[in-house]
């Protein structure tokens, strides 16, 4: 009886979790797939309050590529995705997006002209800009000398003085973008030799890089584990709130500007509800709330007026138009041939490190680890041996 009861309790614990989900079945579920740490959570609650029959299922990704492979594999179905511009153009080329019905998105009028007619979606048929921003160089001013950052150059990322304290994007598009810019080429270059040069530059940087990471840049910079990293301006501002030593600058060589846009996949069964969601996110009040939390620049002109001027006047988030025009570049979808080259070069970069970089860095403490283990084994063996000889002596006596 006791066993039976405990079985019942176990089962009920498991199934109660499912029944809660099941009771909401009659609602329309809207699957939204967005970057991590990229929304004010309460705006979703407000949307669900306004449209009680819509249930938002919100999930996140950490790179455009992982989002792409997830939707291509068909492992999950999403209604709304919020990728960056080059991924938008890739999705358009591969006919995966639904044409938007702008009569359902009246708030589209608040989107600034500068963010319409982007090269990724020249006719504004498929995407509504959500946030935009730039990649900046962030550093820990407690450890990095002012003299080294005076020229606001990308070469800080190659400064051997800070070996093992530098982070780099674990994403070929971003990392090659930085290397190509440093060399003075376009990030969208399709010249093989320029990519080769960039790969060489990255492999020179490899020995002084602490780690190749994406979202982990946030934690590692915040805790002081690393001192220098390229990162997205909005997140950099959020780190600054908890670690005031963190400073950042726009590199003079230029940098990547990105525009993340809301799109509807053409596999959706709830296009109308998805458009309601996009419209809701473009509402100036909501967009302003969102911008305040997320820290990135909003393309919503009306929302700008609602924001604290301290934010809108911050040149790192809303850089002056001169810089934007001359020094920033938007990624465009690379030709197939260049994508393949990028993939090979990136893999080579990672493999080379395994052969050369690792040995110098790791050998001493692998050895220490082995010695400790073997020593422990040896001590145990000696102990048993001594105990046995003692016993033998006793036996003889």
């Amino acid at each position: 009886m006791k066993k039976f009861m405990s079985l019942i309790i176990c089962l009920s614990v498991f199934f109660s979790a499912f029944t809660i989900v099941a009771s909401a079945e009659e609602e329309i579920v809207l699957n939204v797939y967005n970057w991590g740490e990229y929304i004010e959570q309460s705006t979703i609650d407000m949307f669900e309050e306004k449209y009680p029959y819509i249930d938002v299922n919100y999930t996140t990704f950490d790179s455009n590529e992982s989002m792409y492979s997830k939707i291509v594999s068909g492992a999950a179905s999403y209604d709304i995705v919020i990728p960056s511009e080059y991924m938008v153009s890739k999705l358009i080329q591969e006919e995966m997006l639904a044409e938007l019905d702008y009569s359902n998105i009246p708030n589209y009028k608040y989107i600034g002209e500068a963010y319409k007619n982007l090269s990724s979606d020249p006719e504004n048929k498929y995407s509504v800009p959500y946030f935009w921003g730039t990649v900046v160089v962030i550093y820990n001013s407690a450890h990095v000398d002012e003299a080294d950052v005076a020229d606001k150059s990308l070469s800080l990322l190659w400064n051997e003085k800070y070996a093992d304290k530098i982070l780099m994007f674990d994403n070929p598009r971003d990392s090659f973008g930085i290397a190509l810019t440093k060399l003075g080429y376009s990030m969208n270059s399709d010249t093989d030799s320029q990519w080769q040069e960039a790969a060489k530059l990255l492999s020179e940087q490899k020995p002084i890089v602490q780690a190749y990471v994406m979202d982990a840049i946030f934690d590692k910079m915040e805790s002081g584990e690393a001192w220098i990293a390229p990162y997205y301006a909005g997140d950099a501002l959020v780190i600054q709130e908890t670690n005031p030593d963190i400073q950042f600058y726009m590199p003079t060589e230029g940098t990547n500007m990105f525009v993340d846009s809301m799109c509807i996949l053409n596999t959706t069964e709830h296009q109308k509800e998805a458009e309601l969601f996009i419209n809701f996110m473009c509402d100036p009040k909501i967009a302003a709330m969102n911008a305040e939390t997320v820290g990135y620049a909003t393309p919503n002109t009306e929302a700008l007026n609602l924001l604290d001027p301290e934010i809108t006047e911050n040149e790192l988030i809303y850089p002056d138009e001169e810089y934007l025009k001359n020094n920033t570049e938007v990624f465009i979808n690379l030709p197939q041939k260049t994508q393949m080259l990028q993939s090979t070069l990136w893999t080579d970069l990672k493999i080379i490190s395994a052969e050369e970089g690792a040995e110098t860095a790791a050998i001493d403490w692998i050895d220490a680890f082995c010695i400790v283990t073997i020593a422990a084994g040896g001590i145990t063996a000696v102990y048993f041996f001594i105990r046995n000889t003692k016993r033998k002596k006793l036996w003889k006596q």
Binding site: S63, E65, S66, Y68, S69, V72, D164, D170, N171, P172, R173, K206, V209, Q210, A211, Y212, V213, K220, S223, G224, E225, L334, Q339, M340, Q342, S343, W346, T347, K350, I351, S353, A354, E355, G357, A358, A361, A362, W365, I366, F369, C370, T373, I374, A376, G377, T380, F384, F385, R387, N388, T389, K392
Partner: protein, 286 residues
């Protein structure tokens, strides 16, 4: 009667046969299919041949997994032995303690190691703080983002899979056999090499397989604890399937994992040759 029981036997194995067909045979067939075709679906050897580019990665993966397996074996055997010689009650507690970490999610455990090993992590902070009491300036150990950290992650995560099968075979060894060996004048070393070790071979072999196989194909440990500085073969396979490098290519990914599977099968075959006499006693988990 006999016929009936055979029919019953078949009926009982049917669910597993269906399960195997759907979740083991078909996926392996798919891997084979992708490995020998190109993007258009026509037959090709080029995927398998392109593996040559990644030979150094295979070597690194096998090297790290090998070191991790050896360390696991060295740690697990004495522990399994001492557990098997304890009172039954204590044995239960110890086995529970071995299994306890496995109740937590694999990723969380690995993330925890990140915060322990980091330059500003637990170990370095403690050691630095301790030495600064005596006025020493200490730079700290460079532990995270090294191959050593990857090996540590493998050892930590897979150690229970080594301990449990060895423990299972050791408990099955009758203690009177050891006593008999002693009576016949064998010393500790002899008892170990002539009595304990031969009888525990099946457990050791299943332990080695269960540690080596997941260790050689891991990708998340190298990413989290290795900081993306060392690519293991699992990382490359992941990249080809998820397109992290901008290229989604199931064919090369499948070829890479096929070669890995074949390598593992070969090494298992070689190891099983050592296990000829002891087939009946079983490792408990295989």
């Amino acid at each position: 009667m006999n016929k009936n029981s055979k029919g019953l036997q078949r009926a009982m194995t049917a669910p597993f046969t269906v399960w195997m067909a759907i979740f083991i045979i078909i996926p392996i067939a798919l891997v084979l299919f992708y490995a020998f075709t190109d993007a258009n679906g026509s037959f090709t050897f080029s995927n398998i041949l392109s593996i040559w580019e990644y030979r150094s990665t295979y070597i690194v993966s096998i090297e790290l997994a090998f070191v991790a397996t050896v360390i696991c074996l060295l740690l697990a055997y004495p522990l399994a032995y001492s557990i098997s010689r304890m009172k039954a009650r204590h044995q239960q507690t110890m086995v529970l303690l071995v299994m306890l970490p496995m109740w937590m999610n694999f990723l969380i455990r690995t993330y925890a190691w990140m915060t322990i090993l980091e330059d500003t992590g637990l170990i370095n902070t403690l050691v630095k703080g301790f030495l600064s009491l005596f006025g020493y300036e200490f730079e700290g150990f460079a532990m995270i983002n090294t191959n050593g950290a990857i090996i540590l992650g493998m050892v930590y995560n897979f150690l229970p899979y080594m301990i449990l099968p060895i423990y299972t075979v050791l408990t099955k060894i009758d203690h009177s056999v050891i006593e008999a060996a002693r009576d016949l004048g064998a010393n500790g070393l002899h008892v170990f090499t002539k009595v304990l070790l031969p009888q525990s071979v099946p457990g050791i072999i299943s332990g080695i397989t269960m540690v080596f196989v997941p260790a050689v194909s891991t990708f998340i440990i190298s990413k989290l604890l290795g900081g993306g500085m060392t690519y293991l073969i699992g990382d490359i396979i992941e990249n080809y399937f998820l397109g992290n490098t901008g290229e989604v290519n199931y064919n090369v990914g499948a070829a890479l994992s096929l070669v890995l599977m074949v390598l593992i099968l070969i090494s298992m075959g070689i190891m099983n040759r050592f296990d000829k006499d002891a087939e009946t006693s079983g490792g408990g988990l295989f």
